[in-house]
């Protein structure tokens, strides 16, 4: 039996005005376990706290009930008081008789009555309290960033800047991501490479940052502060530390007709390649599906021309295991496939391209060296039609499009249209839009400039059909404002394809037990207040993996994620919340119901040997809660069919006792 002390606070007249505090203290005296009961004007004052401390010593109290304001206000205060008196801080319960009693009830009689009942409930609960100690776990002071685009780069740089080591895992042979493929950036028209490549060099030169390029995360175990991650370094058949990136092998390779992914297949690359001139790390990679030496054992030309001796045809995939304290997901996005949008003839004509392909076409380092030429015949296009919202805001076509707005298309289409009119004033540029969405600093001004200064023809309406006819593309569209159907003979059509999260995101989310929405975007811990954290402790989100974003937003989110990581890594030990779930292994039957509802992946299963009544031993599967990961929501406790799962601090019996006390 506990020895409970009850302390009723007057809060000046805040409580005492509507509640007869003396009567409350008196009534609670006779409750089971209560050995001491008193009232005082201000319990939270130093004198009030001293009163509690003295009473603990004098009456040998094991539990404290404070009838006062909301626990959201002073629970922490009274827990500290208890700890100072040598009591476990979790042996304190608060009866909220101010916000939820005296302040909302005018009548002294009913107010007092209710305060007594609330006090009784708190006494009933504290009688079943057990001392709780928050778990502590060490923090591995190293962060992992998954994805080497601008989001990952910025996060890594910021974390490294605070002095913590960071590893970047990038599945492509180079970091840089989508931004490296872009030509100019809106709304300032900075060249993307000019602002990105210095950052890539910073990453390469930072001694706190390691880059695992051409690598993937294959396994994640552990929890916040203590992740064990397995990274698969794909064999690139070139020794990274020896290769100087001179490019002699690239020039000599005879297999020159492999579609170049970096230019989205609009030109070719050899079997051994460096994606682009400013690649980081600037190391050649052999495409094993194209290399004759690797496929048939015939050739070996690159090894002959490599003066550094970096080529190694026998290289194998390598698995690296590393410990991390925090993981940042920065897996980014891709444009969706246009193959299913038959009406836009994307797969029928080379001259129907996506916006990302257009970026490469206008990029000075692109397949046409920056000249805007039709992919089919290399001629200069005179009429260009841009189509917005291709696959975005598409509710009915879930199998080909996306329901959400892709956010960036309005602005990059305005940019494309403006740049085209700027470089080639003889071209006619049409943009078909449903809505032009330009919230953002200087965004709407930018769009208006495209219309007013550069003479881009914005048409409210959608393109319904594109038919290739000879060298032309017959575009049939509607102009809703003029209430006309338009027929345009275009030379080039650019589709602003919807963007979707990278395909690698979903398996990664499973590994991280991080939650995702139906569109495979990572879910944030709170949509407004915790936008860069995943609900899974220790996992942070950066960039478009969380939702469509432009570059400024991505960079600011990357910085925010980095600061959260730094905050975590700066701690030597993590103190958990002791009010976590726990499974009674004697009752648990290992059914997995609890693990299915746990939003944090805190529950795992292990096989444990039990001694049976007949003196045999039996191995049974039981649930085990990781207290460092559990956040204490209690979803599992209700779902457990056998009643094995319970929540410390809010145990079944405790809440039941409160119900009983209230309903007495």
């Amino acid at each position: 039996m506990q020895r409970v002390g009850v302390f009723v606070c007057w809060c000046g007249s805040n409580i005492a005005g509507t509640v007869d505090v003396k009567a409350v203290a008196e009534a609670l005296k006779s409750e089971p376990g209560v050995v001491f009961s008193t009232d005082y004007q201000y319990m939270c004052s130093q004198a009030g706290q001293d009163m509690i401390k003295n009473a603990v010593k004098e009456h040998n109290l094991t539990g404290i009930v404070v009838c006062s304001c909301s626990p959201r206000m002073h629970e922490a205060t009274f827990r500290k008081t208890a700890a100072a008196a040598g009591l476990n801080p979790y042996m304190v319960e608060i009866a909220n008789i101010r916000e939820q009693c005296s302040w909302v009830h005018k009548d002294m009689l009913s107010g007092t009555e209710k305060a007594i009942i609330l006090g009784k409930a708190a006494v009933a609960k504290v009688n079943l309290n057990a001392p709780l100690t928050p778990g502590e776990s060490p923090v591995t002071k190293r962060a992992l960033v998954i994805g080497g685009g601008i989001a990952g780069i910025q996060t890594a740089l910021d974390i490294a800047d605070a002095g913590f080591p960071v590893d970047i895992v990038e599945k492509k042979p180079t970091i840089g991501g989508k931004m490296a493929q872009l030509d100019k950036t809106f709304p300032t028209l900075d060249c993307a490479a000019c602002i990105l490549t210095p950052k890539m060099v910073d990453v390469a030169q930072n001694d706190k940052i390691r880059i695992f390029s051409y690598s993937e995360v294959t396994d994640v175990q552990g929890f916040v502060g203590n992740f064990d991650v397995t990274i698969k370094k794909n064999a690139r058949y070139v020794k990274e530390d020896i290769c100087t990136g001179c490019g002699a092998c690239v020039d000599k390779c005879p297999m020159k007709r492999i579609p170049n992914e970096f230019n989205l297949g609009m030109d070719n690359r050899p079997a051994i390649y460096i994606p682009f001139a400013q690649a980081v790390p600037k190391v050649a990679t052999i495409d094993p599906n194209a290399c004759n030496m690797l496929k048939n054992g015939k050739c070996g030309l690159c090894a002959k021309v490599c003066t550094a001796g970096a080529i190694d045809y026998t290289q194998k995939d390598e698995y690296i295991e590393e410990k991390y304290g925090a993981i940042v997901v920065a897996t980014g996005f891709n444009p969706i496939s246009m193959d299913k949008f038959d009406e836009f003839a994307y797969s029928q004509s080379k001259d129907v391209i996506t916006s990302l392909e257009f970026e490469r076409l206008t990029n000075a380092a692109g397949p046409s060296a920056g000249k805007l030429l039709r992919p089919s015949d290399g001629e200069h296009p005179h009429t260009i039609v841009f189509v917005q919202c291709v696959g975005s805001r598409c509710e009915s076509c879930a199998e080909k499009g996306k329901e959400y707005c892709s956010k960036i298309c309005c602005m990059y289409t305005a940019k494309h249209a403006m740049l085209t009119r700027d470089k080639y004033p003889d071209t006619e540029v049409y943009v078909f839009y449903i809505d032009v969405r330009t919230p953002g600093k200087n965004f709407d001004e930018f769009y208006r400039r495209a219309v007013e200064e550069y003479g881009v023809k914005y048409v409210k309406g959608m393109v319904g059909k594109i038919t290739p006819e000879g060298k032309k593309l017959k575009v049939q569209a509607s102009d809703l404002l003029a209430n006309k159907q338009l027929h345009i003979d275009a030379d080039l059509v650019v589709l602003a394809a919807a963007i979707e999260p990278d395909k690698s995101a979903r398996p990664l989310a499973t590994m991280l037990t991080a939650s995702m929405d139906t569109n495979d975007f990572f879910t944030e811990a709170h949509p407004k207040l915790r936008p860069v954290e995943s609900p899974t402790a220790g996992v942070f989100l950066s960039g478009a993996c969380q939702g469509p974003k432009d570059i400024p937003e991505t960079v600011s989110q990357a910085g925010a994620a980095a600061s959260k990581v730094i905050g975590l890594l700066a701690k030597d030990k993590l103190t958990g919340n002791p009010c976590v779930a726990g499974s009674n292994e004697l009752i648990c039957n290992g059914c997995s119901s609890c693990a299915n509802v746990c939003p944090y992946g805190a529950i795992s299963y292990e096989d444990k040997e039990f001694r049976m009544p007949d003196r045999t031993t039996k191995v049974r599967r039981i649930a085990v809660v990781n207290p460092a990961v559990c956040q204490g929501c209690g979803a599992c406790t209700v779902t457990c069919p056998s009643g094995a799962m319970d929540l410390k601090g809010f145990a079944n019996l405790q809440i039941m006792a409160e119900v009983d006390a209230i309903c007495k």
């Binding site: 939820q100 107010g111 929501c633 209690g634 406790t637 809010f650």
Partner: protein, 144 residues
């Protein structure tokens, strides 16, 4: 005030992050609601085991209300979705047992909705008062 006026006994389960804070806000703003409502704090509305509600009815509660964060705003991401489903199942069972649907309720009250909390409680108490005393689900063993 009449001496014999019927006072219902209402148990309210409030999640710590939204509704309990909403109830505090109602207090801060001095928005009155009947003293018949007794609040029990739970970490999340999904912590409310249907057993607690049955127990309350066994012990003579006239109404039970569960308050949680708005769908999509749960502090624990998905807890209130579980609440919604579980309570839908439980309430239809209570229907079957003969407990009026008006005696049980799930409401979403955010930490900013003190006024909604008070209004909800006023409305709920009024509805339950109109139904009168709940006699249908008392544990006879407790009566002796």
């Amino acid at each position: 005030m009449q001496v014999n006026e019927y006072k219902p006994l209402i148990v309210a389960f409030c999640c710590n992050w939204c509704s309990y804070a909403g109830a505090d806000l109602a207090g801060n703003n001095r928005l009155a609601y009947p003293a018949d409502v007794k609040i029990i704090r739970v970490p999340c509305s999904c912590r409310v085991n249907p057993m607690f509600i049955l127990r309350a009815f066994q012990r003579g509660a006239d109404g039970v209300i569960i308050c949680g964060c708005h769908p999509g705003d749960c502090h624990y991401t998905s807890g209130n979705y579980y609440t919604r489903r579980r309570m839908a199942a439980l309430f239809s069972m209570l229907d079957f047992l003969g407990i009026e649907r008006e005696r049980t309720r799930v409401e979403w009250v955010s930490a900013a909705e003190g006024a909604k909390f008070a209004a909800t409680m006023n409305d709920f108490v009024e509805k339950v008062t109109a139904l009168g005393e709940n006699k249908r689900l008392e544990d006879l063993r407790c009566k002796k």
